[in-house]
């Protein structure tokens, strides 16, 4: 198993390289010379050339054949990789801050929103799905499903606007905008839960119903286990595998933050940071967030596989 884990974790290298390559292609090759973006609309040609020289944009993209063999890797992409490997995320084009500082400052607000959101949604979704599966084909089940499907068919934009307008602005139950205390988190988390739970409930219910018609459920019932006992001790445990897949893979996105919520509620987290960076062409910030995000993603995927063996001892990792 440790060999398996090691191999999985090693896949972080090609995957991160791939992610960086996509980001690089997008922002340097398709997006055009970033020196123009940095210099602004009214810059002279000399100024642009100067920026390009300073930041290495005048070098070839991948391999520098002119400087072969010593300077073969003196090109844009290899330089970017080397820089990130050293843990140097560069500095923001717009604010001139170190990107590592910006990330450090953004992580906490992001986690403040996404962590409670994640756990409340998970608990609520599993509870509702269990309830629906237990009372399947009754009005309880149907009611839950109607609410779930309706909930996931409404645009999250609408939830945010309606909540901001009525709950926060008209009735003054919550602050509208900002990040100055726990009360600022209630509304974003609430909206996130309302907007996100429906899809999960529906999915978990299907998974549980799938298990309910298995042979082992009949056997357990026949030997006298109570319906509730079957549900919690047998069905839930077996349903854990698809649920785990769904859940653990979402963990890296806790770090990247809730993009939409952060933007609407003025929470200075990583989601907002990334969106701003995208619009200002602040590529060092983008490279850093996608780089870290990719690493976390691979790690989370590996954890999912390990969690499988805990949820289902029949699975052996090789």
């Amino acid at each position: 198993m440790s060999a398996y884990i090691l191999r999985r974790l090693l896949s972080v290298i090609p995957i991160t390289l791939g992610v960086l390559l996509i980001t690089f292609l997008l922002f340097r090759v398709v997006g055009g010379n970033p020196a123009y973006r940095i210099a602004g609309k009214n810059a002279t040609q000399e100024r642009i050339a100067q920026i390009a020289r300073e930041r290495g944009y005048d070098k070839p993209y991948f391999l520098n054949w002119q400087a072969f063999p010593t300077g073969l890797f003196d090109a844009q992409f290899p330089r970017l990789c080397r820089q990130l490997l050293r843990g140097d995320f560069g500095e923001s084009i717009k604010t001139k801050q170190r990107v590592s500082t910006m990330l450090r400052e953004g992580v906490l607000p992001s986690l403040c929103v996404t962590t409670p959101l994640f756990f409340i949604e998970l608990a609520l979704a599993i509870a509702l799905a269990l309830l629906a599966a237990y009372y399947r084909d009754t009005w309880i089940d149907r009611g839950i499903m109607v609410v779930a499907v309706t909930g996931m068919s409404i645009s999250s934009l609408v939830y945010i606007m309606v909540a901001q307008y009525w709950l926060a602005s008209e009735w003054r139950l919550f602050p509208v905008w900002g990040f100055e205390g726990p009360q600022y988190l209630v509304l974003p988390v609430l909206i996130g839960v309302v907007a996100g739970t429906g899809g999960s409930v529906r999915f978990y219910r299907t998974v549980m119903l799938d298990e309910m018609y298995q042979d082992y459920v009949r056997t357990a019932r026949a030997k006298g286990v109570s319906p509730r006992g079957v549900l919690f001790r047998h069905v839930l445990r077996n349903a854990m595998i698809p649920i785990l897949t769904n859940v653990i893979v979402a963990i890296p996105f806790l770090y990247t933050g809730a993009l939409l919520l952060e933007n609407f509620f003025g929470i200075p987290g990583l989601g907002r940071l990334t969106v701003t960076a995208l619009f200002t062409g602040d590529e060092d910030v983008i490279f850093a967030t996608t780089f870290i995000g990719a690493i976390l993603f691979v790690v989370a995927n590996t954890i999912t596989d390990i969690a499988y063996t805990w949820a289902d001892p029949r699975i052996r990792l090789r």
Partner: protein, 314 residues
């Protein structure tokens, strides 16, 4: 009856028995009719070279509440909101179709070769979609849409295209297309891995049929239903994502997509002008709801095993 029951006929018989699915199908039919109407409105104006009615401003009747002449009121430029919603339907369908034009070929072709050939090809494809999957979806969509829009607007070769298709719309579709193929690819790959060992494939191979013909002429009809299910179930997500993108400013700006309308309406919600937001929300809600429910029923009718398989192979 002498003709054998095909999968499609069996599925249709099952679907017809479900009242909810039939109601949804009827709703989708209404939307499709509205779409065709909006499309003719758009193209007839475009071909005659005039500004279409939904883009003409009437500043004397700005921000009016609902009335008989304008059932959903008018917006900031005095345009009829109902007319805007109708054009929004066109945009939603165009997004669904255009994105699928990117998703289906990529997802199908890569999934097919990966599942059929296995080994190195499979490793390469799995690597490719793992990479795409490791970037937060919405971020990658935004990045692609943002960059593509800039590139499209700068490029002179693309101007022939952007005269007919909004640059923002194109960018959104490319963004969602190049990220959305992963799910379909996984599904098709798993299916091809199964079919590759089936008797009819082995027989075809023994007869000397080329790999290409086996993949696309023999196996493809057996996975066609997966593509249709995937399309139906992806569609609502596309409509919702477009709204978010348009709100964040990487989406459609010059055409009244539902996302753009909601974004506009936000500023007038504070004036008590709720009918614009309400209209766009309702238009979006019923389409997404009908697609969600119908897609589910379609999946159950065509391939009941698929319900949980999607998650277990992930």
């Amino acid at each position: 009856m002498n003709t054998p029951d095909t999968l499609w006929r069996i599925a249709w018989r099952q679907l017809r028995r479900k009242r909810l699915a039939m109601v949804c199908l009827a709703i989708l039919g209404v939307y499709a009719a509205v779409w065709v109407y909006a499309e003719t409105q758009f193209w007839s104006a475009r071909l005659r070279g005039v500004i279409p009615a939904y883009k003409q401003s009437h500043y004397d009747i700005r921000n009016q509440p609902p009335s008989l002449a304008h059932p959903l009121g008018t917006n900031y430029a005095g345009r009829d909101n109902l007319g805007q919603m109708i054009q929004g339907t066109r945009i939603a369908f165009e997004i669904g179709l255009l994105t699928s034009l990117i998703v289906i070929p990529i997802g199908f072709a890569l999934g097919a070769v990966a599942g059929y050939f296995g080994r190195k090809v499979d490793t390469a494809v799995v690597y490719l979609y793992s990479v795409v999957d490791s970037v937060p979806g919405i971020l990658l969509i935004m990045a692609i849409a943002y960059v593509v829009r800039g590139a499209v607007e700068r490029s002179e070769a693309m101007q022939a295209v952007t005269r007919y298709v909004d640059a923002g719309l194109l960018a959104v579709c490319v963004g969602m297309g190049f990220t959305g193929w992963v799910g379909l690819c996984r599904l098709i790959r798993a299916e091809y891995m199964k079919h590759r060992e089936r008797q009819y494939v082995l027989a075809a191979r023994a007869l000397g049929v080329s790999d290409f013909a086996i993949m696309f002429r023999h196996i493809a009809p057996n996975v066609l239903h997966l593509i249709i299910i995937n399309f139906t179930l992806r569609f609502p997500g596309l409509v919702l994502t477009e709204a978010v993108l348009s709100y964040l400013g990487v989406g459609i700006a010059n055409e009244p997509s539902w996302g753009a309308i909601i974004n506009d309406a936000k500023q007038r919600l504070w004036l008590g002008n709720w009918w614009e937001l309400g209209g766009a929300t309702a238009a979006m809600f019923f389409l997404v709801l009908a697609l969600n429910l119908f897609g589910d029923a379609l999946r159950d009718a065509l391939d009941p095993k698929l319900r949980t398989a999607e998650a277990k192979t992930a």
